[in-house]
Symmetry: C3
Subunit: 359 residues, 3 copies
């Protein structure tokens, strides 16, 4: 695509030669002939000069630069939009690959594509233009909306409802049984049938090798626009709000509710039956053991407000010094007591905390 | 099913009209016409009154209620038993789907079902009434017992032994190689062949996207009745006892032994070559670095007894206050020393711990 | 294999009858007739005596033993080499199983084996002697080197490059989209197209149910000889150095660089955009929030040098005692102040830290 055409589509001001052809986008230090690069800030200017990018996206008001330039108020957003223009995702062959096993009563809307060796059980419906990869399984009576993309080896159990424009990456399991048992005799456990459903609303994206359990009764729900990273566990009856982001290896226990626009960083754990308020942020590896009000920012395991966490970490770093200080204070007390003739009321058979030191 | 029939099968005392038909079970606040709900405690009575449940399971001795009622000493257990009566799991078509690849010398007992596009390698045997989902792989010489259920896309490597009534959820890998290497020259690593097996005993249930590695030599074993949640890692040569429960995202390192009736909460990590005693409980996100005696209850990383953990957490919260207290004590010491004419023995060139404060 | 033949191939000194036949290797306590066992240290001598091993590998210079013995300077390495001699991995039938779906323009070198129901997309090439298991997916234009092994149900997305002698275990997803969005209006998120690649260099081994995301632009790279355990997450644009080891359930965030010969223990988390120096070691469950110099050894969340961590943990254990010590010091101060006639400068309306105690 010509740079001038890109400029117009992206709504950017063009400075320099607009006739050059742009074939790819590339990081500044890797960009070569035909590449459009993106300069996050002025500190990257030397990298740009040394590099071979054919053109560059730069923030309005930056110092002028020797290459053809697209000027914009938000270079990163413009870069992403350029990516979306230049890289149109692969459209697989429409229709159902003959190697698939499609059971009775399946309803496929227009322009659906299903890759080789997939299995679609009875009563499933798939909306317009949705792309189902190879070796996917879709269980009985599940419904997939329009413009969805299920990558190869996704597994959807029965009775799952998926909205429009949902993306699910490979290896992910939607609708597996919740982890629920009652105690029987002598420590054995009796399985609680898991007969609820899963609903993924519009514009949800789920990473690879994620597990989202069906509800015991009722619904496990991921609301509109929420994005979930790889290897995340969502237990039975969890509700995740809209536009929330959950990073890799996090786990949310049964019946917990996560609000809208929440951010869970990586490896976060949240106990069952709590509520995380809207716009809360939970730092990496935090363990949340109780409900959080909206806009909370917490860290640590057990999680505490982030300022408390930072103060505690700083104080903890002082601990060895505190022990030394205590030792010195006790020595000064002894001197004072000797001088004044008062004595330490407790006998000294066991050494004091500080005297034992820290190894 | 009629309420009176349910009452009889569940061994409950029926109060009110037993002729009504029950179609579903539902949570109290969602229950409608034809639904049997379950009241955990008297605090839910207002929800019941406002709701539309046709009948309710209530603890014996509770205040009378306006709806047809099943009275029981354990409402939750009764609720689960009612679920098991009303929701009979789907029985798939018996026999082997013609799209499967079944190698020579496979032995299938009566009433086995194998879903589309599964692969069963040579020498496998599968017991009566076991259900193998679509796109499952079962490796050479593996044995599956009776009444098992393998959900779609389960992967069983060669030489795995699975007992009766075992349930394995989708995406789970049983019998992958253990993670074992010896150091070669210049930091390279030489793979240790992993030639052992995996045994899952009767009544084990394994969640989705779990990994259970085969033993290097010998056996990785999960004993009778143990339940493992999603995304759990069980390393080579681990032995997990009977009736144990392991929550999501936990990992158990090589050659560790877990006792009977142990509970590991979510995201627990246990080092290699230790023993966790029977009836131990390990709290969420705990990191266990040494063996634990039976009935231990531990928390934290590194894990400590839960009372110690709680005391330490409470004391840690005091740290900033401790620093202030130390500062005040030092000021008082200075006053006393001035008054008595004794002096601080150390020079004051570096400020004391407390004086530096906490940011 | 005869023991004398094994001794020769392993370069060991043989003591005792070399004519016995060795069929298997086994742990000392499980070994029986026909088994070669391995004695790690002299403390195992009683186990050997009681056991039924036919022969044993023992360190040179150990006390003599009653069984036929292979003497070596490194018994563990010799044991591993014996394993590699006695257990030749299964060679599946060469060629492509007729149930596979192989698209146009696929290039298979000599002696390739592809198991049943696999899908190989257009433009893929697979090197000599590589073994692709059943139900594997290999996306467009991906290249697999020679002597590789992809276990059943591995999923490789498009444009992935895999070196020679690479092993990938079941359920692993290579080349899924990176987790990248820009903020749109009102909290929504716009997906950043993930158009980069993944490169796995020679001799890499990847465990089961791992996820390795493709780069946004550029490459996510795992360098030569690195071994990754089960359920690990490698985000977009991560570079992992050579001969590095990453244990189960660890996660590495976007654009982070890990050096050569690094060890990450289980459940480690590393934030995005940092560098972990060569030969660094990160302890189990550690959370690394900033770059680490080479040869660092860190523990904890947030991670600190391991000696600091141990000192802090030891000091934290003292906290309740510190509170008691403070209480006693304050009592002594009061006595001294009374005796000297000076007074506590602050009023006593709120009790001091120590007086409140710890519950």
């Amino acid at each position: 695509m010509r740079l001038s055409e890109l400029a117009e589509k992206l709504g950017c001001r063009l400075v320099g030669n607009g006739n050059i052809e742009i074939y790819r986008l590339a990081p500044l230090h890797e960009a070569g002939e035909g590449d459009l690069a993106f300069m996050a800030s002025a500190v990257d200017a030397p990298t740009l000069k040394k590099g071979h990018a054919s053109a560059v996206i730069v923030r309005e008001g930056s110092p002028p630069c020797s290459k053809p330039t697209l000027l914009t108020n938000d270079p990163y957003l413009t870069f992403v939009q350029a990516l979306r223009l230049l890289y149109t995702p692969d459209r697989p062959t429409l229709g159902v690959h003959p190697s698939c096993v499609i059971q009775d009563g399946v309803r496929l809307e227009e322009d659906v594509a299903i890759g080789p060796l997939s299995v679609v059980e009875a009563g499933v419906s798939i909306g317009r233009r949705s792309i189902v990869g190879a070796q996917v399984y879709i269980g009985k009576e599940s419904r997939i909306g329009a413009d969805c993309r299920l990558y190869p080896q996704v597994m959807i159990r029965e009775g799952v409802e998926i909205g429009d424009r949902v993306i699910i990456h490979s290896g992910t399991v939607i609708g597996s049984d919740g982890f629920g048992y009652v105690r029987g005799e002598r420590g054995t456990r009796i399985k609680i049938p898991q007969v609820g459903r899963v609903i993924l609303e519009d514009d949800v994206e789920i990473g690879a090798n994620v597990t989202i359990d069906r509800a015991t009764l009722g619904v496990t729900r991921i609301k509109r626009g929420t994005k979930i990273d790889n290897l995340v566990q969502i237990a039975h009856n969890v509700v995740v709000g809209a536009d929330t982001v959950i990073a890799a290896l996090s786990g949310i226990s049964g019946s917990t509710t996560i609000g809208d626009r929440v951010t869970l960083a990586g490896q976060v754990g949240i106990v069952d039956h709590v509520e995380i308020g809207d716009d809360a942020t939970v730092g990496a590896q935090a363990g949340v053991a109780k409900s959080l009000p909206p806009e909370s920012v917490v860290l640590g395991s057990p999680a505490v407000p982030h300022l408390t966490f930072k103060r505690n970490v700083a104080a903890a770093r002082r601990l060895p010094q505190i022990l030394n200080t205590l030792k010195r204070i006790e020595a000064r007390l002894v001197s004072l007591e000797r001088a004044s003739g008062t004595g330490e009321p407790r006998t000294q058979t066991s050494p004091s905390t500080a005297e034992r030191g820290v190894r």
